[in-house]
Structures are given as structure tokens and as C-alpha cells.
Symmetry: D2
Subunit: 461 residues, 4 copies
């Protein structure tokens, strides 16, 4: 890597989960569009074939319309080969297959627990964490060994526990997690500005939102735009949306298009708590007791979908076809920018300009009334080789309680996996907000879900 004339050349990026047929293509676009950087991306995936396919696709991106830089992509066969010499590591993996995800999401329905996503919290999130944490232990150990100075960017869910595991294994790791959910809420604020203030708010640089919480259960307690306090604006916007039945779905975010909601939960939470929940409704409801998902009918009444894993499986087929099509270069490549901040973050960490954005890292005081250590989501200042949390202050008391409960349970899950303690894990399972069922049912559900995913959790004998 060479820093010269406000450019960095010869950058080395390791992509773990490099066979991905979504995030990987997005990153390829974003990198190709960036004139200030170039270098090599090593693609590692347990599905080596998929990585090889992405090597072909990645190397084609230099020909895309509007490409500003040339990157070399190379599929490799081991974590070591990917990591050695890396300046940055990107992690975006699927822990297990859609079959395990099917159990995560749908088995609890037999006992009356409904999960729209099932990847971050709830019984599904816990079992997914059971599979994912061991993988992240292996990744963290490899980073400690082969790339201890690299910056690590995680996109995998459960976000909080993934990043937390990296720090647990290797406390000096320079890792953080990125998620676009807060951007979605900022887009909603922009819509509010437009509707209520007749303002034109072109991008996120124009407003300041103070972000507090954990990934997918983040909250905004302050939002300003050009000298205006946006919270009362948002309040009026909700009334307007309700009165006029305005459509507030995000339409143009490629990642969200199959997973719609009308923000009815987010709006109800604002009216009750006075602060803005900053993730999608489908995520939010999973961090709370049965309030919005007691039954499918209750969910329906709040206008969000209970995504089936069947739809995800269908999506996969489409992406496999797309991969083949891209490899064949039938059509000229187009740059489809993700709107993710990964490349901006990389630039800031290289010393190419400071960046203020939200990020998932261990709390070291930025959320002043939550415990230090667990991973939280707040704003941070990205500067040369440093991610410095910005003080997000105290969370509002009654929202803090909701978030702290999640943090506590996630810490318990972490301990359970690290110590191989299935019974401690069950106590975490019991502790989940959605666990409004009898002790006997809870135990039966736990055993059934474990049985369904057992090949990925060898730590449970």
C-alpha cells in the first residue's frame, strides 16, 4: 500500500464470504467507482466455486461504464491466503444454509412465536448466533495470526454478536460492523422534511442524527437539519402519513425491496416513547415482547410482512442465474452503487479525509448509561487508522431498559457458546423478550431448534 498524492495504490482487501452473490457485487461496484483507490481483493469462501465465479465477475468490473479504478480479484483457498498482507478484511458470510434459517424462523411458530426476520434476536437469532460465533472465533483467530493490523469490516448478522466475538477472541482487533438500516430512517427523515417543511434535503451530510442502541434496535434521540429540530417535524409527518395514508416504504434500496413495511411500528414507538426507532419494523418487533407479533393477525394489523424463508430460497435461484449471466458478460456492466459507506470508511481510515457515520463497536463510554464492552451502534469519527466514538450520551431511561435487556441476553449467548454451556444458553433463550411461553414449551422448542441445526454447533455435545 502506498499513500501518494491523495491516492492509495496497491491496497489489499480480504473478502471473507467472497462467493457472495449480493454484497460482493455491490462492493465491486463501489470500488470500481472510487478513483482514489486501487489494489487487490482476495476472495475466500467455503464454497470455493462461488469465489471463483466472483473472481471472474470482479475482474470484469474494470470494464464497467464509468469505472474509475482497476482492481484485481483473486479467489483463494484458505483464510490464511486471504488474510496474509491484507490492509482491510471484509466479512459477509451466510452461517449455514437456508435450511437452517428455515428452522430459525419457522420452528418457533409452532409454539406461538412469530419472527419476521429471525437473524438478530429472538429464538432464531440465538440459534443463528450458535452457528455463527464459532465461525467468527475461527476468523478472529486467523486475523490475529495473519493480519493483526488490518481493519475488519463486518456485514454479517447477528451483527452485534459477530463483532463482539471478534473482540472477545482478539481484544486488539480493529473491527467494526456496518449496517444500512439507520440510512433507511434518515431517508424517512428526508421524506418528512420534504413533506412537512417543503425542504429539499439531498443527502445525509445535511443533517445530524444522534444514533443510540444496538444493531437493528437503534434509536435516534436528536435530529437536526439546517437549524431545525426534526423531532417535531417527524411527529407532524406521522400524523400526516396516518391521515393521508401516505406510502412510506423505501423503494429504491436494492437490499430491502422484498421486505416491505409501512413503518407503522416505528411510528407507534415514536408516539409512545418520543424517540425515533431507526431500524425497519420487521427488525424492531423482534426485539420486543409479543406487542406487535402476538399472532400473525396482530402482525398484519401493523402492516409488516412475516418474511418466509421460502421467498429467500427463490431469491437465491435468481441470483445464481444472475451470476452466470454476469460471468458471460452478455451485457455491459453497470456500476450500481450500494449507498453503503464501506468505501468511504476505508478512505477515511487510510487518511483520505475524516468521516462521521454510525458504526457497531464495543461501548467504551459513547453510550454513557449502558455497560462498557458490549457492541453498540452510535456515531463515530473515522480518521487515519482510528474509529473514535462520538459521545451519544445517555439513552432515554425507558428505551435504555429495552436495549439493555437485549445487550444482557446477547452477552449471555456469547458466554454460553464460549464456554460450551448449553444450559446457560437455555437461560439466554428464556431471557429473550419473545419468550412468552411456558417453561416446558420453551424447553421443547430449544431442543427442537438445536436438533435442526446440530451439524453447525459441534460445541453442543
Amino acid at each position: 500500500m502506498v499513500f501518494h498524492n491523495d491516492k492509495v495504490t496497491g491496497l489489499r482487501i480480504a473478502y471473507i464470504g467472497g462467493g457472495s452473490r449480493g454484497w460482493a457485487w455491490g462492493l465491486m461496484s463501489d470500488l470500481a467507482a472510487e478513483p482514489a483507490l486501487n489494489g487487490t481483493v482476495s476472495l475466500y469462501d467455503i464454497d470455493h466455486e462461488a469465489a471463483k465465479h466472483n473472481e471472474i465477475i470482479g475482474n470484469n468490473y474494470k470494464n464497467a461504464l464509468g469505472a474509475q479504478s482497476v482492481w484485481k480479484y483473486k479467489a483463494v483457498k484458505s483464510l490464511k491466503a486471504a488474510l496474509a498482507g491484507a490492509d482491510f478484511v471484509v466479512i459477509s458470510i451466510l452461517p449455514g444454509t437456508f435450511d437452517e434459517m428455515e428452522s430459525d424462523v419457522h420452528t418457533p411458530e409452532k409454539y406461538g412465536i412469530y419472527q419476521p426476520v429471525g437473524d438478530s434476536t429472538g429464538p432464531g437469532g440465538l440459534i443463528r448466533a450458535y452457528r455463527t460465533i464459532p465461525m467468527f472465533i475461527e476468523i478472529a483467530e486467523a486475523i490475529m495470526k495473519y493480519a493483526p493490523d488490518a481493519w475488519v469490516i463486518n456485514y454479517t448478522n447477528p451483527m452485534t454478536l459477530c463483532v463482539r466475538t471478534l473482540y472477545e477472541v482478539f481484544p486488539k482487533i480493529k473491527a467494526f460492523g456496518c449496517c444500512h438500516e439507520v440510512k433507511g430512517t434518515q431517508a424517512l427523515l428526508a421524506q418528512a422534511i420534504s413533506e412537512i417543511l417543503d425542504g429539499d434535503c439531498p443527502g445525509d451530510t445535511d443533517f445530524y442524527t444522534n444514533v443510540q442502541g444496538v444493531n437493528h434496535f437503534t434509536w435516534i434521540n436528536e435530529a437536526t437539519w439546517r437549524g431545525v429540530d426534526l423531532l417535531p417535524v417527524y411527529d407532524k409527518f406521522i400524523d400526516y402519513v396516518r391521515a393521508e395514508s401516505i406510502d412510506t416504504q423505501e423503494k429504491d434500496n436494492w437490499a430491502n425491496k422484498h421486505f416491505r413495511s409501512q413503518n407503522a411500528v416505528k411510528f407507534d414507538l415514536f408516539k409512545r416513547y418520543g424517540v425515533i426507532a431507526a431500524a425497519g419494523d420487521r427488525h424492531l418487533v423482534e426485539f420486543l415482547p409479543a406487542w406487535y407479533v402476538k399472532t400473525p393477525e396482530v402482525a398484519e394489523s401493523w402492516s409488516f410482512g412475516l418474511t418466509t424463508v421460502k421467498s429467500r430460497k427463490e431469491g437465491l435461484q435468481k441470483r445464481l442465474a444472475k451470476s452466470e449471466e454476469m460471468r458471460s458478460q452478455k451485457e455491459p456492466y453497470k456500476l450500481r452503487l450500494t449507498g453503503e459507506e464501506g468505501v468511504k470508511q476505508i478512505k477515511a481510515l487510510l487518511g483520505l479525509g475524516n468521516l462521521l457515520t454510525n458504526v457497531n463497536i464495543p461501548n467504551s463510554g459513547q453510550l454513557s448509561n449502558l455497560p462498557n464492552g458490549p457492541v453498540v451502534e452510535t456515531n463515530a469519527l473515522f480518521t487515519y487508522d482510528n474509529v473514535i466514538p462520538v459521545n451519544a450520551g445517555d439513552m432515554q431511561w425507558d428505551v435504555k431498559i429495552l436495549v439493555e435487556r437485549i445487550i444482557h441476553n446477547q452477552e449471555t449467548i456469547l458466554k454460553a457458546v464460549f464456554t460450551g454451556d448449553k444450559e446457560l444458553g437455555f437461560r439466554a433463550f428464556l431471557g429473550d423478550p419473545q419468550m412468552c411461553i411456558s417453561m416446558d414449551d420453551a424447553h421443547a422448542l430449544y431442543e427442537e431448534m438445536i436438533a435442526n441445526t446440530k451439524q453447525y454447533i459441534p460445541w453442543i455435545k
Copy 2:
């Protein structure tokens, strides 16, 4: 009050709720049995008639068989009259009538929430707190004005919020709360010693139990007796009880006799968490989600009763009759010692010997991984004019989470009442572990319960 030759004479005790037909008679017995003290007890009650009746009964106790001291009882008509000059204040009141209690306990059943007691937590505990806190605000203000140096002993439920209110209004108050539930668990330990070790454990002085938690949701994480660790003994005892279907009900505690349980929940919690839950099953299940009370059938399967308020109303009739009988002195009085520690505590605070016992006071570090300020239950050393908490250490992580959740919610209830914020109160209501219902149901239940008790909660407009 005069301290002379290891006796204290001329002590002045104010009894708020002095018309009580239970606690009051117990205290009269205990005082009469104590040779080292004498003095005057002022009885104050909003039901002045009841206080007058107790004046008669109290003054009769000097004639009881075995009485060691003479106390003068006097019904008074105002808090001021009761408190002026008091050395000690005893508070034992019923907030509202059994009609309000009926709504507390039984209205939630319509929405699928079952409460065996409904006085400490759950929707019933919250609404009871709504009634009680304003009364305790008035009491605390009167103490601050008329008896700021007196020691205050509370027996009223919800214990934690009653004591917490006293300190919130008058931070320098010298108050604590007493509860006999931990004694019940110590009796169970004595039974375990007897069954498993063939030991004879005559009283609580022989063992040390480290108490942690909040009232009615207390836990014992260390218990020793003559060089023996009692936790494995308790574990074996549970196996033995289950195998042999032993009866472990407390039989001789007058206060508990109508409210039986077989400790099945307490035993299950020990097997799951490894520490001893130290309150009765009927209380314990209310501090947890639906695990043990999802339905009446689930409750039945754990062998504890869902006490009806109807039975309480019947009990009241018997006590009214008893009061009349006692006033008539038909039969000679007997001293029926309560086993409560109130009189021992009074003696220790007067300088008549140190006492180590469990007590409810604000956390000032004794529970080192719980926040300071809220009222917790741990051991404390009673010495002259001082109640010094003994370090109870950290609570075990997964139990701490359960307790902290309760603490947080109780703090929210307190704030709601003090600020008159009905919506904040609803957020506390939502935050209760038992609130496993939909948002719409929760809101309907809240409004219905408030309507049923509205004359006692003028702070809600």
C-alpha cells in the same frame, strides 16, 4: 427514651396503619415478650375506629401470660399526633380496599395474565403502587416534618417501592423494610439439613445465607452451616423431595397458612440457575414471564395456588370477629410471637447488641453489580443508630438480569407517579415481564385497571 442498665424505657413508637388486625397484634405480642424495652405506641389509622379497637387490645397485652413488659397504646387522629416525638415508626397499611385488590389480581385474567398475589409486581403490583406511592409520599413528608430522626420500619407492599418512595421524598430518612419470606427459605434449608445431613439446626443464628435481590424476588447464592456448604445439600434435598413426594409446605407460619405452595418453582429455578430463590413460589412466578403461569393449568402443574381475593375477604371477616373477641377479653391473652425481627432490630438500633439480618434499603454498593439508589434486599448489620449493609457481592449474571429488569421497571413506576405521567406509567406497564400480550390489549387492560381504582389515584386526571 432513657438508656439505662441495658434497658431502654420510655420508648415511643408510632404505628401507621395501627388499626391492622394482623401485624399489629403480632407486634403487640413481640413487644410484650421483650423485657429490655417499654414505652408507648401511638396507633394511627384512616379507620380510626379500628385504631381505637387496637388501643383496647394493645393495653390488654400487659396481662398476657408471660408478658415481660408494659406498653401503653393510644389511638390518635393524625399523622402528626402519631409521629411527634417518635423514636420508631412502623408502617403497615392496606392501600385501598379488597375491592381494588380484586381488580389488581383478577382483571388481568381477562387478557390471559394470571397473578397468584398481585401486590408486588405484574399489572396488579403496578396499580397497587399507583395507590400506595401517594400515601407514602404523604407519610414521608410527615416524617420529615415531625420525626426526622426516627427509625422507620415498613411492612407494606409493594415493599420495594414503599421504601424507595420514603427515600425519594426524604433522602436522609432512616428507613428500612422487613419481610419474612427469606426466613421461610431458611426454614426450608433447616429441613434440608435435617433430612439430608441428619443435622439439627435450631435457628437462623447457626447458618449464614448471603441474600441478594429485591423483595419477594430474593436469591441466596451462598449458604453455610457449621462448616458445610449447603448448596449441594439443597440440591440433594430437592432430588429427595421429588423422589419421595415429601411435603415441604411451611405449616407453622401464621401469615402463610392460606397461601400454600410445594416449592416446585423454587426447586426448578435452583436446578436451572444453581442458586436458591428465597421467596414463596406464588411471589416468584410473578417476577418472571409466563413460564410458570401461562395458564391456570400451567400454574396447577407447578402446585401453587392462584389466591383469590374472595378468600382474602373471607379472612377479613374472621379477623373482625377475632378483634371483637379480643376486646372482650373472653379468654386470657397468649403471646404469639411472630418470628419477625422487628423488635430485635429496634433493640440493635438502640445499642442493645448488634444484629445481622436481611433488610430492604437503597443499594449503596452492597449489590455490586446492580445500580445504586434502588431498594434491594441483602444482609445488613444493625448497630447503634445504624444499618450497615454487608457486601452481598455480585449477583450471578443470569439472575442479575432478571432482577435488574424488575428494578428498572420499578424505577419507571416511581418516576411515573412522581411526575404524574400516565404514559410513562404505561411504558412501565408494558415493561413488566408478564406483559406478553399485544399492544392493543395492553392498552385496554391498563385503562380498565386504572378506571377500577381511580378514586385512589388522583394524580391521573
Copy 3:
């Protein structure tokens, strides 16, 4: 105040100490040079004559060469008149006269304590705080009453205790303190870049320095510039300066020119502690025991001056003459920008662009291993109507100890003044690092210094 087209017009600034013949003129220059703002400045001073003189001078600035905006200046006779309607309040006062300052600085010399400045800490700083805190109590009360929503910028020393007093009286005040000392150290870093790296580092936007500590005893534990870690660069620079006897005095800062040092203490501290002390040597040595000022000879050996108050009195004469000259407008005005960030901060708080800079505000977690509440100096993000501390992390253990000691003593001084407790104040006096004298001498010195300044400290009877 009107926000329109990226400009703010009709801004109202209250200047307390508006008769100042230094800071006030600097602010006038800075405001005149700023095209995006205009408005009115109310000048309040207990020396109303001085304020009237500054009214004339201020109103002349619109004619200065290069002036970009027109400001109206108006001397007023009361705090109320100055504050009513103010958007911003600037405080820059001299507590007492140079006679009191003479005692602050020179009386301790009789007992073997030498202070180069005597305004922030040491016996001189304590007595100056005794005079200043009552004035700031009055100011804070007036702000609470007449301008509770205004932002308050303090320049007065002792900086930490002045800002701390504002928050103690009015916890919701929006106040912060500004000081240019850290800028001086950043200039030294720029010199190091130039000498060691042959780099050209034109301004502070190019590097990131993490600031930690209290005013005049601040430390930089991280400094980077275009991808370079500056701490080893600074280390080499020190060796080079020592080997070549390079002159490292700041020459062009108007405020510092009479108060030179060669940074020998700052360099010795870096070699010992490994982090950069970020204030001038004359300030730094006062926060430490006798290490660098045991005797005047020791001070001489470290190449910094023991500034006499005599020189300050002479300076005052020159400034009085300058004031007369300026009022007469003999020569055309020139804009002499201060390099202070006051105007940039005002713009950021108005919503005219974010600003990252160092600032003095109460710790709310930004210095994570120091107590919350006391005023500390770290970086903060200025955004619309908000000053958000950036996490400065933990201070290095052995430096933290030095700083925490100062914080503790300052808190004690605060309590002493607020409670009128002269003896508690003496214990703070004893607790100062420089108090390496016998108990009897300490007491005699305390009484003597109090006697010398007694007309300004009516709270000591």
C-alpha cells in the same frame, strides 16, 4: 436572529467583561472578518467607562480594511441589559485587579513556592478562584434568568472552575470554555512535521490530535497527519531540538509574546510519560509538585520565565494608550485575526457547518477513566445547537493520576466557595501539588493570601 441563505443576520452577542483591552478587540476583528454573520454586541463591564471606549472602537471596525460584515456595539450598564435576548454570551473578565494578582503570584514565594502564572492552579489559582467563583455565580444566575437558551463561551481563568461554576448554578446552561494553548502545541507539531518529515502542514485541519485533560494541563496521546503517527516524529524532533538548540518559541501569537518558554518541560514530560503535554511550560509546571520549580534556579534551568505581575502592569499601560489611539482613529483599522475559534464555533452552533475542535465542558464520559461532572478538555463536535463530546478514551494511567488529582482539588475548591467553608478551602489548599511546605507554613500562607484579597471574597467572614 434570522437564518437565511447560509447566513445569519441580527445575531445578538452579550460580552461580559466588554471593557477588555485585548480579547474584546480580537473578537471585534474576527467578527468583522466573517461574511456569514452580522448583528449586535452588548458590552457589559463593571468598568463602564472601558465598555464605552470599546463601544467606540467596536463601531469603528466596520471601516477596517477587509471588513466583511457590519456589527453594532453598545455599552450597557447591567448584566440584565446585556443578556436580554442574547443568542450568545462571551465571558472574559479580570477577577479583581493586578494588585490581587500580585499577591496570588508573589506571596507564596516567601514560603518557597514559585508560580510562573498563578491563575489556574497552585495557591494563586485557588485564591483567584475564590474571587472568580462568586462573580460566575452571579453571571450564571443572570443567564438562567435572562438568557437561558443562549450559548455561553468563557475565556476567563481559572477556566475549569469558571465553566464548572456555570454548570453548578445552572445545570442546563449551554456553556463551554475556549483556550488557545492546545493550538500552540499543534503549531509545535507542525514545526516537527516540517523539520523531521520535510512536510508542509498548513493548518490544523490536516491533523488529528486526541486531547485529554483539564485546561492548561491537557495532553495529546494520539496525533496523526496524512497517514503518519506523529508521536515518534515528535520524539525525533525533541532529540533534534536538543542536539541543535533549535528555538521552539511561538513568536506570532500575540497573546503569548511576553511569556516565552523553550518547551523544555514539555519535552522532558514527553520523554518521561510518552504523551505530549499540550499547554505552555509555564502553565504545566504549576500542576506538578516542585519538580520543575523547586527554586528560581531550578526554573531557570528549564528555560521558562517566572512572569512577574509588574510586567503585566506595564502591559496594561500600553493597552490603555492603545485604546485611546484606537478611539481617535488616527490610523486605519486593520483586522488582526486571533486564530481563536470563537467565531467558527458560533457559526457551527448556528447550523453553518460542523466543526471539530477542543473545548472545556463537563465530563459526561468523553474521558472514560475520569469522573463525570467536572469540566475537562477534549475534542468535541460542534453542530447545530449542540456541542457533542468525542470519546477521548482513557487517559494513560500515570498521567490520569496527575490530572485526577487536579480535578479532585478543584472540586474541593468549588465546594468550599459554594458552602462558604474556609476550612474546607484550606484542605484544598493543602491538597495542591505545590503545597510541599509544613502545616504551619501552609496555614500562615493561606491566611496571608486571604487577607490580601479579602475585599473580593465576602463569603469568608
Copy 4:
């Protein structure tokens, strides 16, 4: 070890430093006087000859007048031999010889620093810690290996750092430190009761003193006796002592008789701070800056002695003669009880009755406004296999500052030795309250003291 009928037989005690000619004989007396215990004491000492002598003496104690139990003493040649199978470990060693102690105490005098004892703090205490910590690392490792379940009682100075080292090496160690200084202050309180109240206060069970601080720098902020607050009594007592020139020296404590003071410092501190310093003046002054020891004349004016190591060397000669005399059994042995609480503590830990006393253990919240981890001195409850700290509450703000400074510096010393960082150690040296000298002098003194003791600090290359 067998527990039977309220006795414990076959107890095994390891005595490290078992050649001691003071503490060891005291323990022998105390054990012989205790009817409820018997067993074996292994004596280990690097001076094996001395241990052999004590084996003879120890075994003679069974013949002492009034002996209640028979103990077997055995000199052993290794830590392993001493520790294997031990129930209790007593540590009382001299780190180095009186020659090193001579440098500790007297070398600083050349630079103007006077230390009456030089074993706990100050430059002497630091260098003594440099020698002692490595020895305690070795001891802790041996305990972890050979006697991990034994209770460990330390008497060696520097007490705080010795106990702290044990926990640093072996966090699960069951260790505490004992010191009789607080008892001395309790005796002074008894004298106050006698003089001022005409009370007869026969022993420590009659009063409650709340102990706070670190060893030799402990404070009593609450003291009561039979319903009386003793702080005003102590205040009057001081006035009386000063007015009447009463002798307040302890006369009958064998350990203190050569080391007199008139408590003038303790009394002055009470008059200034309002709480009782609970160690001897000779210790107290060393934890403070030059206030009471600026010069030998200042020390003289406060009526305490600057003990010379010469006198200690003379004392040693007398004890050597005494050892020979005892081995020859010329005269019948007498039991000379130490008044130390070691044997009472052993009994309580065995389950033979609870004990409340002061003790040195890591802070886990008992001193609520001091950091957790460092070793502090407070009351604790000794019960079966447990030492439970009693909440000592917050230290008074201005006293806390004094104590916290010591704690911080001791933690720095610990880190310096554990990491072998001589320069960090120098920063601790600089941080000592007595270090009121110039940087150059401090550095010269540090190097000289290290040179004088270098054979015992191999960790400094």
C-alpha cells in the same frame, strides 16, 4: 482437619518466615492459649537455622503455664513442604536485611525527605515493595500450586502491596492482611471514653468503628459505644489532652514500645478533617506531603520519633539472645497474648463463630467511592470459609482524595514490578506525596536507592 463438637483438630498451618523472632512467638502463644484448636505448624524460612530454632521453641510452648492445646512445630526446607496440605498460611517475612532497610529509610534524608518508618509508602516503601513483590509472586505461585484452598494471612509490610500481589498472581486466592494499628486507635477511644465519659470500655466488642482506607492510612468516620456517638467525645478528649498535656502513648503493646508518638498528628488531622486517622503518627505522616516532616525540627514539633534503623539492628541482637534463652528453657514459658486477631479469624473461618473485624482485602465495593481491585482496609464479617466485607460507605471527599492518591501510586508500583519497567517505577516514585524535590534530585535519589538494594531486585537489569 476434623470438625467435631465445636473443636477443630489436626489443623495444618504453614508459617512462611517461620524463623521470625517476634511474630512467630506471638502466634505460638496465641495458639497454645486456644482450647478449640490443635494441629501442626510448618515453619519455613530462607534462614533455615532460625526456623529450626523456632521449631524447638514452638514445641516447648505446650509446657507453658496455662497452655490449652498442644501444637506440633516442624521446620521445613521448602515452600512446597510447608504448603502441601496446609489449611492456613501465615506470611511474615523480612524482605532483605536491615542494611537494605537502612538505605530505604536514610538515603532520602540526603535529599531532604524524612521517613519515620519507611516500610509502607514514601521512597523507602517503594523500594521495599520492589524487593517484596517478587518474593510474594513466588509465594503466591507456590500457594496456587500446593495449597490453592488454604486461607492466607499476611502480616508483612508493605501490607497493601503484599496482599495485592497475592491476588494479582492468583485471583482466586483466599488471602487477607492483618494489622494491629486500628486496635491502637480503638484503645485511644477507650481512653477517651474513660476520661471524658467516665465510662469503662473493656474491649472492642463494645464499640463499633467504621474503618476506611488503606493499611497504615486508615480512618474512622463513625464510632459509637452504647448509644453514644464517639466523635464529639474524641474531640473533647483532644482538647483535654492538649490542655492537660496528658500522655496518650500506648504502653502495653509489645510491638510498639520502641516507637512512641504522642498522637499530635492524629489529633491535628482530626481537628482539620473531622474524622479519626487510625494509624500511628509515624505511619500517617509518610502518606502526606511534607506537612509534618518537612525537616527533623518540624517532626520534633509534632512529638514523634524518626526511628533509626540502628535501633532496629540493636533490637535484633536482643531478640537473638532471647531466642537462645528460650530454646534452653531456662525459665518456664509464659503465654504472652498478642492481642492480634489471627487466631480468632482462623476460628471464624473454620465455622467456630462469626467475627467482625478490620481486614485488608481487595475492594469489591465496600469502599464505595474508591476503585474496585486495589486492597483496602475496612471491616469484614468472618464466617465459615468466607470473609465478607461490610459496606464502609463513601469516604469523606477530602480524605478520599488523600487515600486515592496512595492507591493510585501503589497500583503503579505494582505494574512497574510486574512488567519490569524501571521508568514506570520512577513515575510512581515521582508520584509519592513526599516527592517534593526537583526532577533532577528525584532521579538521582531513585538511582542511588536502587543501587543500594540491587541484589534483591533482579527485575531491574
